[in-house]
Amino acid sequence: MTWLESLPLAVFVMIPLVIILIYALFAIWMERKVAGFIQDRLGPMRVGGWHGWAQSFADLLKLIQKEDIIPAEASKFLFRFAPFLMFAASYAAFAVIPFSSAYMGSNIDIGVFYLLAITSLLTISVIMAGWASNNKWSLLGAMRTAAQMVSYEVPTIMAVLSVIIVAGSLNLMTVTEMQSGNDTLGFLPNWLIFQNPFLLVAFVIFFISILAESHRVPFDLPESESELVAGFQTEYSGMRWAMFMLAEYADMLLLSLLGAVLFFGGWNSPFGGFMDGPIWGFFWFMFKGMILVFVMMWIRWTLPRYRVDQLMYLCWSILIPLSFINFVLIALWEMLF
């Protein structure tokens, strides 16, 4: 294969990028609307006419025009590079997400293991941004993020592993395929969350952990504005800041879609054979992902922020022991039934 022949491959690889960009524009608008409704406001109403739908486009245009400010004492290369590394890490993980029965970036056997490995680059990019900014708030924010993400990786991995025991494969396409059909209790879909009572507990652990991994409220200590200005993003402006924003939203989508694959049947239709097929599959998959994203937004605008020690206590003293016990119970259940 010469490099010219690999052009279709490049197009194939770009499909998730298009999805992420459209999703990010939509999700930023949605976040403001959700915030508005929860606080009994209307949210953006003016730009574009209908319910301010063009607000994200206006913001994007504004961000493109902004000056790219780099602090004089910053470590130049690392400062410039960190936002792109962060987005690259999120984007690389989309390779193993089965968007529909017809499209999956790379159908490899180690699927979800690769996903968990490559997202650990997110932590490095946050440290990089925080250190390169040469600013105490940035550095403190980065240290907090690193501690938080490294800690919450453990319960996330344990919850994912619990699902993998039941599914018996690391390949997310195989995991999705084995959840098709509507046989549980005669009418429920064969989604993994209905297959094993302990997987419900695993889902709760998983959801709390992904909130912390994508540093959303109530775990948004890395950028808690009341203490750290904007955390590791303090010195960033313009498009580099927009890259961080894009990476954050991409990360939210990634983890929500992972949750949808592992617990809610991925691209399978909830009505069995009805409204099935690759296009509908894509619709259902994004729909399930967006519901999880919506719950994340709902939590963000409803709950206050945790303290650092409470965050660590929740992880190491509650979630990790619980996830290990749950793991053993799921393995037992699978042996018995």
């Binding site: 690392l78 490899i108 650990s120 990089m128």
Partner: protein, 167 residues
Amino acid sequence: MELTTLLFYFFSLLTIGSAIFMVFSKNIVHAAFALMFTLLGVAALYVLLFADFIAATQILVYVGGILILILFGVMLTTKGFTDNLKTLTTNLRPVSVVMTLVAAGMIYVLLTTTWPVAEIAEPEGTITGLGTLLLKEYILPFQVTGVLLLVAIIGALLMATKVKHQQ
């Protein structure tokens, strides 16, 4: 040129270049970040050799674990700013003599060995075979490694918490 060949040269350059930068960098944090590129390049080379599991493990353990630990260590021990940390080059002469000899030996071996090249064959996925081997033939070494790591964790915890013995 084939795409895989191109990728091989790109990742080899990345690995070697960042390794050289890491060795010669005077700033310890810059060196740590250069190490990240080296480790990623090595992981990419593993992928080109069809060793996908090893590649993912490389990233998870070295980049996601050890490198973050190094960065934490560096940042916490020097109170966040590394300006007061001195790096010097010492013993330049003996090192250059020894390293020239080592390099000469390695180049000699490289040139005189006949390298058997196998046909490129994509394996059917490595993880099933690995799992079967680990849990059947090599179950004892696997378990013993687990116990060893557990002992190391307990030891680290013991050292970190500074248990006071009551006399």
